[in-house]
Symmetry: C2
Subunit: 547 residues, 2 copies
C-alpha cells in the first residue's frame, strides 16, 4: 500500500489555513499515487487547543473543516485528526479522534484511549478515553489506527517516580488481537532533546512485540512553548526504521509499505537539536502571533548574545534591533563585546545609558528611603529601568521583546521581576547555563560569531561594582547538576546529597528553587526543550511550605 | 452517633502545622464525647498540592504524618484525607484517599472515584480513580465514605456546554446498593459566590434521592488563588440541613446524627460573600507566605480604594502603607480622594510625583524616538514608572505589592504589563467593575469609608488629558454583561448578539479578550470568587487564531 506521510505545521484555531493545507496535501498525495494520506493528531485544530475545546463555535468550525476535507477524498483515503462529540450521555463531551475519510465522507471515527494528563499534557481535561477497539479493511489490509499516547502504555521514563504503566489499558494489545496488518499512529509529540530517542524506542519495541509495521506521523512546528519536531517514520514489523522524515521542518513522503529501501535522516547531537528547536520556536511564535520584529537588550553577556543569534536566524537581521543600556557598573569590555556582536550580525543597535533615570529614581525616593543603606532595591531599579526602555522600544516600533533569562537563573530566581524577566517569549528559560556555553561554541564552530570574550569572561549581572554570579551562586557546573537532579529527575534533596554533592549547597539550591515559584509564576512563556520545563508542565503551589 | 465536624484551615505542605492541628482537634473531639472526628479532603497535605504530589519526600512526609495522627485515635475514630500509594502495577501512582483510623492505626482506606479535571481542578494529573466500592461498620452503623466530587456525578452547571453527567460512574448509587446508614463526604470545595447554593442543592438532592443522611465536611481558608469557604453541614435523610458551620472561618461542632434540632448560619448576599472571601484570601496569602506587610498605589480611583480597605481588614492598618504617585494628568480630586481615604483608614502614605522620572525617560528616548508622535508608549512609561516606585517600596521595606486590576480591565487588556499589572497578588482580578461599585456601597453602608466622590466620578486611568475609560471601552454595565456571557457562561459571540447586544460591541469585546491572553499570562495570581476566573482555571493557547 502506498501511504503519504504528511508532516505539517498547523496553527491552533486557524481552520482556514489548516484546512487548505490539508486539502493541498491530499491533492499532492493523490497526484503521487498514494492510496491513503495520513495527517497528524488534532491536525484540523492544531495541537493543543486547550480550553478552546470547551467553546461550541470552535467545535462547530472543526466539524465544518472536516466536512470540507472529506469532500476531497475521492479516489484516495485520508486520516485526519480532530475532536469529535461524544454521543454517549455520560463522560466528557469530546473524544480526541482520527477521522478516516473515503468516498467523499467520513467512514470511521477512531478515538484515543490513553489521554496523557501529566507534565504539559491536559487531555483528560477535555476528552473522554476510548474503551472499544476495532480495526477495519482498506485496500486489502486491516488497519489499526492509534493516536499518539496509545502506543505509550509502557513509558520509558516517568515523572511519577519510575512508574512504567500509567494506564489500565494497552491499546495495541487489544488491537493486535483483531489481527491487523498495519498500525497507523497519528501524533503530536512535543520535542525535548531526549524525545527522539524515547520515541524511536517505543516505536521499535511495539513493532517487534506485536510483529506489525507502524506508520508514525508527527506534527511539526511550535505552538507557544511547545515545539514539535516532526521526524515521522515508517517501521517494518521487525522494528527497522525504513523511512524517516525531516526534523523541525514540514515534510511529505509517499512510502510503500512493501518496499525495503531505507531513507533516513542524518543524526544530530543534542546541542544542535536545541539550537534548531529554539529557532523554530521563535519563528513560529512570531509568525503565528502575526508579529515580524523583535528587540532585546544586549549586555555583552552570553545569554543575550545567544538570543540575538537565534532571533536573527529565526526572523532575519532586518527584523531585529537591540538596545545597549550601560550603567556605571558596566565594564568597558561588556560594551565592546556587545558592539562587536551587533557588528558581527549586522544588527541595528542604539545605546541609551540608564544612569539619568536611575539617578532620578534615587532622588525621588531619597526622602522615603531616608538614609537606609543600598541593597537589592537599587539593583532592581537598574534592571527595571532597562525593562521600561526595552518595552518603550517595543511599544513604539512594534518589536516584540525577547527575554534572555536562562534556566539556571530562572530556577534560583536570579533575575528581577518586571526587569530582566520581561519579554513576550523566553528563549533560553529551559536551557541551563552550561548548555548555553556549549551552544555558543557550536555556533562558533566555523567562525567567531559570538565574541570569544563573551564566552570566556565570568558571568556577571553588573548591577554593583565587580559583581560576579559566583558571588551569590554555586559554580554553574555544580549548580546545573543539582538543578537537573531536582527538576528533571525529580530527586529528593537527600538523594541528590547521596550522589556526592555538598549538603549545604544542595539545600540552599533547593530552597532558592522553591522560594522563587512566585517569580516564575509571572515569567513569559518559555520555549520547552527539556523533559521538564518551567511553566505549565511544572505546576507548583505558591503558598506551600516546601521542606 | 456523635460526630465531630472539624473544619480547619490547612497550609499546603506544612505537615508539622497540619498534623498538630488535626491532633489537637482529635483531642477536643474526644473530650466532647464524639465517636468519630471527620477532617477534610487531603487535610494532612492541604488542598491542592499540585506537582508536590510527584515528589517522593512529600508522600513520605504525608505517610509519617498520618501515622502520628492514627496513633492518637484511641477511644475515638477519625477520618483524615491524604494521598495513598496505589498498590496496583497499572495506573497513576497515587489515590486521593480518606483514611479511617481507629485503635491507633489506619483501619480502612477509601479512595476517591470521581476526579475533577476541569476548570481549576487537575486531579487526574496525579490520581488514579477508584472503581471498587465498599461500606464498613462502625459504632453500630454502616458508613459510606465519599470524597468531594464523588457526590457530584450529576452537575448542576457545567463548563462543557450543559453536560450533566461528566463521569461514567455514580459512586453514591454503587454505595447505596450496599445499604449504608450514613454518608460521610470529606471535601475541599473552592468558593465562588454561587458555590454555596450549588453545593447545598447537590447535597439535598443526594440525601433525598438515596434517603440517606450526609455529614459534609469542607476545608476553609485560602491557598493562593483558591478560597475555601467552609460551611460544613449535616443533612438528615429527608435532605433537611440540620447543622451548618461557619463560612470563611475555622469551625468545629459535634453533631448527633439522631438529634433533630437545627443550627444554621445567617444568610448573606453575594456582595458580602465576595468581601469576606477576598479578606480571607489576602490574609491567608500573607500568613502562608510568611509575609506581614502590604503596599499599593492609591490613585483616588475605586479599585485601589477597595483593595486598600480589604488589605486593612485582612492585615491591620499598621501593616499597610500606600504611595500616591500623581502625574501631570492627575486631577486635583484624585489626589484629594486618595488622601481622604488614607485618612479615613488611618494609613501611612507617601507622595512621590512621577514627572521627574517620566521626563528623564522622555529625554533619554528622544533621539531614538526622533519626532514620532506620542502614543500608548508614553502612557505605559507613566504606568511603569509607578510600577518601579512601588516595587522599590516593596523591596526596601518588605511590603508585598497588592495588584488593583479588576476583572473587566483584565479581560480586555486595559492595563500596562510591568506597570499597573504588577503585584504579588491580584485582589480584584476576578471581580467585575460593576460589582466593585456594589462592594464599595456595601462597605459604606453604615458610614463613608470610601469617599463618595471616588464612587461617583467616571472611571479614568488618567494617563493623558481628560481621559475616561469610556473613551476606549463600552460602558461597564454593557461590557460586564458581555464579558460574563463570554467568560463565565462560555457563550459564543453569536449567542451573545442574539441576547440583544450590539454586534460591533460584542465582536470588539471578544476580540479584546482574545488578544490579551499574552498579558494575562504574566499577571499575578488572582483570588478566585467566580465560577470562571482568569488564571489556571481558564487555559487558553497564546499563539491561537481566535475567531
Amino acid at each position: 500500500m502506498k501511504i503519504a506521510i504528511v508532516q505539517l505545521n498547523y496553527h491552533i484555531g486557524n481552520f482556514e489555513q489548516n484546512t487548505s493545507k490539508i486539502i493541498e496535501y491530499i491533492g499532492l498525495s493523490k497526484a503521487g499515487g498514494a492510496d491513503l494520506a495520513v495527517f497528524t493528531e488534532l491536525s484540523v485544530t492544531g495541537y493543543y487547543p486547550q480550553d478552546l475545546l470547551e467553546r461550541k463555535e470552535f467545535i462547530e468550525q472543526s466539524y465544518e473543516a472536516l466536512k470540507l476535507i472529506a469532500a476531497q477524498c475521492t479516489e484516495i483515503a485520508a486520516i485526519v485528526g480532530g475532536p469529535s462529540i461524544n454521543p454517549e450521555p455520560r463522560g466528557k463531551k469530546l473524544f480526541n479522534s482520527a477521522f478516516f475519510m473515503y468516498d467523499g465522507a467520513v467512514q470511521h471515527v477512531v478515538n484515543k484511549s490513553l489521554l496523557p494528563t501529566y507534565d504539559i499534557f491536559d487531555e483528560y481535561r477535555h476528552f473522554e478515553p476510548n474503551r472499544n477497539f476495532s480495526v477495519f479493511d482498506f485496500g486489502g489490509k486491516k488497519l489499526a489506527i492509534t493516536i499518539c499516547e496509545d502506543l505509550w502504555d509502557e513509558q520509558e521514563t516517568q515523572n511519577e517516580f519510575g512508574r512504567e504503566k500509567l494506564y489500565q489499558l494497552s491499546p495495541l494489545k487489544e488491537l493486535s488481537a483483531l489481527n491487523p496488518d498495519l498500525v497507523i499512529n497519528i501524533s503530536a509529540s512535543p520535542f525535548s532533546y531526549n524525545q527522539e530517542n524515547w520515541r524511536k524506542n517505543i516505536l521499535v519495541k511495539n513493532a517487534i512485540k506485536y510483529q506489525l509495521p507502524i506508520v508514525y506521523v508527527n506534527q511539526v512546528g511550535a505552538q507557544t512553548e511547545l515545539i514539535f519536531d516532526g521526524g515521522s517514520c515508517f517501521l517494518n514489523k521487525n522494528g527497522e526504521i525504513q523511512d524517516e522524515l525531516k526534523y523541525f521542518e514540514e515534510d511529505f513522503r509517499i512510502i510503500d509499505t512493501e518496499s525495503s529501501t531505507q531513507n533516513l535522516q542524518p543524526k544530530t547531537g543534542y546541542i544542535e537539536k536545541i539550537v534548531r528547536a529554539l529557532i523554530l520556536g521563535i519563528r513560529d511564535y512570531f509568525t503565528k502571533m502575526g508579529f515580524q520584529k523583535a528587540t532585546l537588550g544586549l549586555s555583552g553577556g552570553i545569554d543575550s548574545a545567544l538570543v540575538l543569534y537565534l532571533a536573527v536566524e529565526a526572523l532575519g537581521k532586518e527584523n531585529v534591533r537591540v538596545l545597549l543600556m550601560p550603567s556605571r557598573y558596566s565594564s568597558d569590555h561588556s560594551i565592546d563585546d556587545a558592539l562587536q556582536l551587533a557588528r558581527n550580525l549586522d544588527i541595528k543597535y542604539e545605546i541609551i545609558p540608564i544612569q539619568p533615570m536611575v539617578d532620578t529614581f534615587g532622588q525621588s525616593l531619597s526622602e522615603v528611603f531616608a538614609n537606609l543603606p543600598a541593597n537589592v532595591t537599587e539593583e532592581n531599579i537598574q534592571a527595571r529601568t532597562r525593562g521600561i526602555l526595552l518595552m518603550a522600544i517595543s511599544n513604539k516600533f512594534g518589536n516584540i521583546l525577547l527575554n534572555t533569562t536562562n534556566k539556571s537563573e530562572c530556577a534560583v530566581g536570579y533575575g528581577t521581576l518586571y526587569g530582566d524577566m520581561n519579554g513576550g517569549l523566553s528563549v533560553l528559560g529551559d536551557v541551563y547555563k552550561t548548555d548555553i556555553f556549549k551552544m555558543a561554541n557550536w555556533i562558533n564552530r566555523d567562525r567567531e560569531i559570538i565574541p570569544v570574550n563573551t564566552i570566556l569572561k565570568p558571568p556577571s549581572a553588573e548591577l554593583r561594582p565587580d559583581q560576579k554570579d559566583s558571588d551569590s551562586l554555586p559554580d554553574y557546573e555544580i549548580l546545573d547538576q543539582i538543578l537537573f537532579s531536582y527538576i528533571e529527575l525529580n530527586l529528593s534533596p537527600d538523594e541528590i546529597i547521596e550522589q556526592g554533592f555538598d549538603e549545604t549547597t544542595v539545600l540552599r539550591t533547593v530552597r532558592m528553587v522553591n522560594n522563587n515559584e512566585y517569580k516564575r509564576f509571572q515569567a513569559p512563556p518559555i520555549l520547552r526543550i527539556s523533559s521538564k520545563a518551567f511553566g505549565f508542565g511544572r505546576r507548583m503551589p505558591l503558598v506551600a511550605r516546601y521542606s
